[in-house]
């Protein structure tokens, strides 16, 4: 069975048949962007459903089960409802920034999706600074949150926005450093190459102790990056009502909501790629069928997403100063130590190669 | 301390106190508004009485008079007494605050002020607690009329 997975090339080749090269490559990009947009808005909605189901099962409930079989269409119905809802706002809000903020958040999270290798070939955009690109893009989202909180002329929203600024700036460091630790092994920032290196064993195995520490730090910092409990200071519904998106309604609210879930997917996908070998199957059991890589990739990603949901529905929220204590007193020093340890291990050639 | 001993001790401080034991399980003491604050601080500070727990402040409209009833308990000796003050002045009833002696009196006195219109001298923040600032009248007084909302059986 042969499926054309190298979508960029396939589409471009198809278009080249009947138009000049320049137009074809631009059109190909547009088409791919639209495909990604369609796939991931649906995937985001599905993720919301998964979250609700998982939350229900943790909480002795059943979860959505009315719309469609087993409630599968529940979030679609919610999205339809949100589209049809009135967009409310506050008096004296800074309307330009207020309207801009949700797009900042959603666009930045959709942009990050471009670089993931779903299989060896299913990758929209394989740049040589993949990890760097991801880290850079993921910090743009916080601008949207800050703008949204600042512009909506609501005191609770402003406090939420300030918290978000503090939180994201701090935890960016840990995300970056823990990924840097792993790059010491791979020696490359390109995601496809990072996966390639792991054919000798996933990086969490290759790097053993420091890799496990880096993974734990990454998961904690990643959860904080997405503003999810136990780090949901930004929303903190028992303190700030709804935090930065208090004043948003309808589709603008939905963008924030969707972005949170796509971000969660991104964080998990990065972890799956960097620590767990991306689309590689364990021990190469399905190497002969390359398109199965999609399932391995998604399987690993969803397992990590589930872990983040498990965190969310178990732990209490930290206080804002404890959040910073955790980062600056625990995660950052550990991370720096960990890098030195990893460097030593790589230098001495103590990595485990299967 | 027994009620008799309390009575004896307190009459040695102030001879104008009225002691009533009829119709109540506690020792009731009626005090004049002028001596009220001094008596209360004495009750708190004296080591034999040491009434450090003010657990109930009740405003009461006795028809002609307005009064406030204070229930006091000692957490060391575990005895309870009831102090009562009254005034004839329905227009402008005023007593001394005890919120400097017991911090809980702050809220309780605001409640009494809210519903009975009894003012407390030197109270740090005497304003309506439950009702809005514009509310007219004092609802728990017996002569309060609200023809719309009150249903009389």
């Amino acid at each position: 069975m042969k499926i054309a997975l190298n979508i960029t090339k396939t589409i471009q080749d198809l278009l080249l048949g009947f138009m000049p090269e320049g137009t074809a490559s631009i059109l190909a990009m547009v088409i791919i962007a639209l495909i990604y947009l369609a796939i991931f808005s649906v995937a985001g909605l599905m993720l919301v459903l998964v979250e609700r189901k998982v939350a229900a099962w943790f909480q002795l409930r059943i979860g959505p089960n009315r719309v469609g079989p087993w409630g599968l269409l529940q979030t679609m119905a919610d999205a339809l409802k949100l589209v049809s809802k009135e967009l409310t706002g506050t008096v004296k809000a800074d309307m330009f920034l207020y309207n801009l903020a949700p797009y900042f958040v959603i666009v930045s999270s959709l942009m990050a999706l471009a670089v993931f290798p779903f299989t060896q070939e299913f990758q929209a955009f394989d740049i040589n600074i993949g990890i760097f690109f991801l880290i850079a893009i993921s910090s743009i989202g916080v601008i949207g949150i800050l703008l949204g909180g600042y512009a909506s002329n609501n005191k609770f929203a402003l406090i939420g926005a300030m918290r978000s600024g503090v939180q994201t700036i701090s935890y960016e460091l840990s995300v970056g450093l823990s990924l840097l630790t792993m790059i010491l092994i791979t020696g490359s920032l390109q995601l496809s190459e990072i996966v390639e290196v792991q054919k000798n064993g996933w990086l969490i195995v290759q790097g053993h102790i420091p890799a496990v520490i880096a993974f734990m730090i990454y998961m904690i910092a990643g959860t904080a990056e997405t503003n999810r409990a136990p780090f949901d200071m930004v929303e903190a519904e028992s303190e700030l009502g709804a935090g930065f998106h208090t004043e948003y309604s309808g589709m603008k609210f939905a963008y924030f909501f969707l972005a949170e879930f796509i971000n969660m997917f991104i964080i998990a996908a990065v972890a799956a790629t960097v620590f767990f070998g991306g689309w590689l199957s364990p021990f190469g059991i399905t190497d002969s069928i390359p398109w199965l890589g999609v399932f391995w990739f998604l399987g690993k990603t969803f397992a990590l997403v589930f872990l983040m949901m498990w965190f969310r529905w178990t732990f209490p929220r930290l206080r804002v100063d404890q959040l910073l204590t955790l980062e600056w007193k625990y995660l950052l020093p550990l991370n720096l130590l960990n890098i030195v340890l990893m460097a030593l291990i790589v230098w001495l050639g103590l990595t485990i190669q299967l | 301390m027994t009620n008799e001993a309390l009575q004896k001790l307190m009459s040695s401080w102030n001879s104008e106190l009225e002691f009533i034991e009829e119709g109540s399980q506690f020792l009731n003491i009626s005090v004049k508004a002028a001596n009220f604050h001094q008596l209360m601080s004495q009750l708190k500070s004296n080591s034999e009485t040491s009434f450090d727990y003010l657990f109930c402040v009740t405003g009461i409209d006795l028809g002609k008079e307005l009064g406030v009833i204070y229930h006091l308990e000692s957490t060391t000796h575990r005895h309870i007494i009831v102090i009562k003050v009254k005034t004839d002045d329905r227009e402008n009833p005023t007593f001394d605050t005890v919120s400097d002696i017991w911090k809980t009196a702050d809220f309780h006195e605001r409640e009494v002020f809210d519903f009975f219109g009894i003012k407390f001298n030197n109270h740090p923040n005497l304003k309506r607690l439950f009702l809005t600032d514009e509310w007219e009248g004092f609802p728990l007084r017996k002569d309060y009329v609200d023809e719309v909302n009150m249903v009389i059986k």
Binding site: F58, L60, R61, I62, W310 | -
Partner: protein, 158 residues
């Protein structure tokens, strides 16, 4: 070292917390505590003593046990019950007797305290176990408990 000891202890408590929720998650089929309310109308059974609303049972001859003594009306704290009564000649004994015309019950004002049913000397009113009392128009919450044309059961005296 207490720095690393703290981290270790912290992670341990977090994991033990996750084990609690994890167990519930794995067992999710059996331990849902919520009710599928509109779907389980058939099986949803209220307890015998459940206070749904006040009703006046009638027997097959359209007779009730209310003598119109108004004790329930007095016992009610909220004015939920109003009794319109009359003195009529009892056909059996030929004496004038107090009889109810209408026993009016305002469900919208009822707090389900049960004092009326306690007060009733002839057990004329009882609790019903129905639990769906919401209506679109509150006028339909005012109910007349005795059925039209009903009479007092013979032999019931207060």
């Amino acid at each position: 070292m207490s720095y690393f000891g703290d981290i270790y202890k912290g992670i341990k408590t977090l994991l033990s917390g996750m084990s609690v929720t994890g167990k519930v998650f794995l067992n999710n089929k059996n331990n849902a505590i919520t009710q599928q309310y509109p779907d389980n109308r058939e099986t949803l059974k209220m307890f015998d003593r459940f206070r749904g609303e006040v009703v006046m049972p009638h027997n097959e001859n359209n007779e009730h046990r209310c003598t119109g003594c108004q004790k329930c009306e007095i016992a009610c704290p909220n004015g939920t019950i109003e009794i319109i009564w009359d003195r009529q000649v009892d056909p059996e004994t030929g004496k004038k007797k107090k009889m109810i015309d209408q026993h009016i019950y305002h469900l919208g004002m009822c707090t389900m305290c049960g004092l009326c049913i306690e007060a009733c000397p002839t057990d004329a009113i009882l609790w019903a176990q129905n639990y769906e009392n919401s209506v679109f128009d509150r006028t339909s919450l005012t109910k007349v408990l005795n059925q039209p044309g009903s009479k007092i059961m013979p032999g019931v005296e207060d």
